[in-house]
Symmetry: none
Subunit: 418 residues, 2 copies
């Protein structure tokens, strides 16, 4: 798997560069505004309990249907047909990057949610504070779910650990959960988890999967040893378990690639972190969908690209809760009416992948998508759902092209060649 | 041209690796069964003598239409739009491999049909036994179409030829036709045919097209010289003509790539040979379409992937016999009814390419295709033909994705990324 992903990395860099660099070379700045709406896990499947219809087919969305009267519809593949993506690859694709080139490790993805300024020298891992007995056996992987406040105290203490050649940052997430970031040049993240994921076992040492990762693994083990010394008198917290070691990924910023002044509106921390990586200005999105649209309206004049992420379509999809997913779509549609007044130049509405309530999880199915602009060559689709999008003018394309299409519709891409 | 195709090869190798390796890294084994039906040359063109309809539009196929009520349709490109493929590339694509990366030489393709266990060190060529006169001029390229029995006797004799550093195998095909396989490490197959394809000329020497192929060409010439000595007293057979020198291609087996236990049901020898290369268990398919479905039923419980190949749709297409091609489709449909009782998890029905009776040959036209599973997101297509497939949920994709989609629908692909 490690080997595979290495082959892939080399290869895709070349493949991706070609199209990506071409687009980059054509970007021109103007005042046009792009609104990019992502309903997480939007796509669905016909459900036997609901007239054999999909979530989008059951939901009422008069405002989206009003938009597509002047828009163009289609279906997008996050990676390629048959591949079910996690949130990381699915979003990178929507942002216009090749999801096979830039892979975000679990630890990094989970750590992106915390308020932290990552650098290219950072390696992150997610951590649990845990309880071990006198024999070093894990008796509680969550140290009795200590309070977030207690967590903060302990993180503060552990932040004092000094290991030469490396900076170490500890960040409280919640209760027993924290993130640790090791900052040092040329760390290699191919390290096994120290969390055995089970009680009744000893914490594992950090083992390097490759020669290159040896020094990083040693560093991690040193840190754990130091930490356990400090934690001796903080029962129930007397150990820690680390997993998902991952290096910061190199992503060109939106400012460089698209010459945009981008803003991100997302309630869920992970998406705030991810868009921050891309150079987006992370706005205060509040908690509800209405809050997110309030945020859009408030900041509308300050940016030329807005990414808005709606989380709960995916959450309810994963719960298999068809009706609640329908309600979220309807809630989004109701708020979306406010966008017409803003009269943006380009609107994209899509999902990062499908999460059919029927399957209770992410799926490979292509994602219904809308692009609106005054020059989008609108098609004859009249209502927004999976079946209708089949007839749409976008056809079936890779989700990576939504961004180049958005840029083109905004007049932000020059002609290629004479 | 050679230069160009070499560039293309390099590039596509990379392109392919990327997606192929990603898919491979996501494969997980389960008990789901995939049935993969290929009607060779399935796609057609509207025919003026038949109400300006295609073979599929004229044919009655109630069972396929019953399947698509719960299935999803679309059009597939064997290579890319505009490319008319031979059977080799067309099938490699259906099997999920990049047809531009793995190119099967003519000699190999023709030799695949014989019952022979190829190794990576083998170079195959197709041969004719021929008659030459005292001046070495070819008087009969087929040596009077000698009996297959006579052919076998001669192959036996020639199998005694010993050349150091190489094993030589002669295999009777039929009448005057045979295959020769040279087994030795590092043979290079860039060798000109020795068959001038005309009578009244002398057989040509085997000429190396490249420096690398020199030693292989010498080997072939040595073999021919030895053979002609032996054939002195076997008039009308006193010479042999070789063409289509081709090395064995390296293809990862289905077991490795897809972790499947695959079986192949094909009447036509070439497809038995090709699927054997991929590690498929080649079953006794009998002679008729009914035999093939009997074979499927008999072996259904023993494998989790079945490839079934129907040859005659292509044969009649190439003959320009519209009505007979229609009948084969109807015969397939009639037998297909038996599949419903087996209740497989995933069904794919497609063609390797189009062979419109109107054109009497393979064509570049995209191929009508069906995927069925309980989670395929079925579309509103109601009958199976080229026009209706345009409205289908698969859209227009590369035929290579039929396999990744089949695997996804079978629950055999894990999620990519966090």
């Amino acid at each position: 798997m490690v080997y595979v992903s290495k082959i892939r990395l080399k290869v895709t860099k070349k493949m991706n560069k070609e199209k990506f660099e071409l687009m980059k070379s054509l970007v021109q700045k103007n005042d046009a505004k792009i609104l990019f709406f992502v309903m997480d896990g939007l796509g669905g499947l016909p459900h036997p309990d609901f007239e054999d219809k999909t979530e989008l087919e059951i939901a009422k969305h008069p405002n989206l249907d009003r938009l597509i009267k002047k828009g163009i519809c289609g279906l997008t593949d996050p990676v390629f047909p048959g591949i079910t993506p996690g949130s990381g690859p699915a979003h990178l694709s929507l942002f216009g990057y090749n999801p096979m080139e830039h892979q975000i490790g679990r630890g990094l993805l989970d750590t992106l949610g915390i308020d932290f300024d990552f650098t290219q020298n950072d390696m992150a891992a997610r951590g649990n504070f845990a309880t071990i007995d006198e024999n070093g056996i894990i008796t509680d992987r969550r140290a009795g779910r200590i309070s977030t406040q207690k967590n903060e105290e302990i993180c503060k203490l552990l932040s004092n650990i000094k290991i030469s050649g490396v900076e170490i940052f500890l960040k409280t997430v919640k209760e027993h959960r924290f993130s640790v970031i090791f900052r040092s040049p040329s760390l290699n993240d191919e390290i096994e988890d120290t969390d055995p994921q089970k009680e009744g076992l000893k914490p594992l040492p950090a083992i390097a999967k490759t020669e290159k990762a040896k020094s990083a693994a040693e560093l991690v083990n040193k840190f754990i040893a130091e930490a356990e010394k400090i934690l001796k008198n903080h029962y129930p917290v007397n150990s820690l378990l680390l997993r998902g070691f991952s290096k910061m990924i190199k992503l060109e910023k939106y400012q460089e690639v698209f010459q945009l002044n981008p803003a991100s509106i997302a309630v869920y921390p992970m998406y705030r972190g991810l868009t921050k990586l891309l150079g987006m200005n992370v706005l205060d999105a509040g908690q509800s969908i209405k809050d997110e649209f309030d945020c859009l309206k408030k900041n509308y004049s300050n940016y030329d690209y807005f990414f808005m992420h709606i989380k709960k379509t995916d959450t309810y999809g994963e719960d298999g809760n068809f009706e609640e997913k329908v309600k979220i779509i309807e809630e989004f549609d109701e708020q979306f009416e406010r966008v017409f007044a803003l009269n943006p130049d380009v609107i994209v509405i899509t999902g990062d992948h499908s999460t059919p309530a029927l399957m209770k999880g992410h799926s490979w199915h292509s994602v219904p998508s809308i692009i609106y602009s005054k020059v989008c060559r609108h098609d004859s689709v009249e209502t927004f759902n999976e079946k209708e999008c089949l007839k749409g003018g976008i056809g079936r394309i890779s989700a990576q092209y939504l961004m180049s299409l958005a840029m083109a519709n905004a007049g932000k891409l020059k002609k290629f060649g004479a």
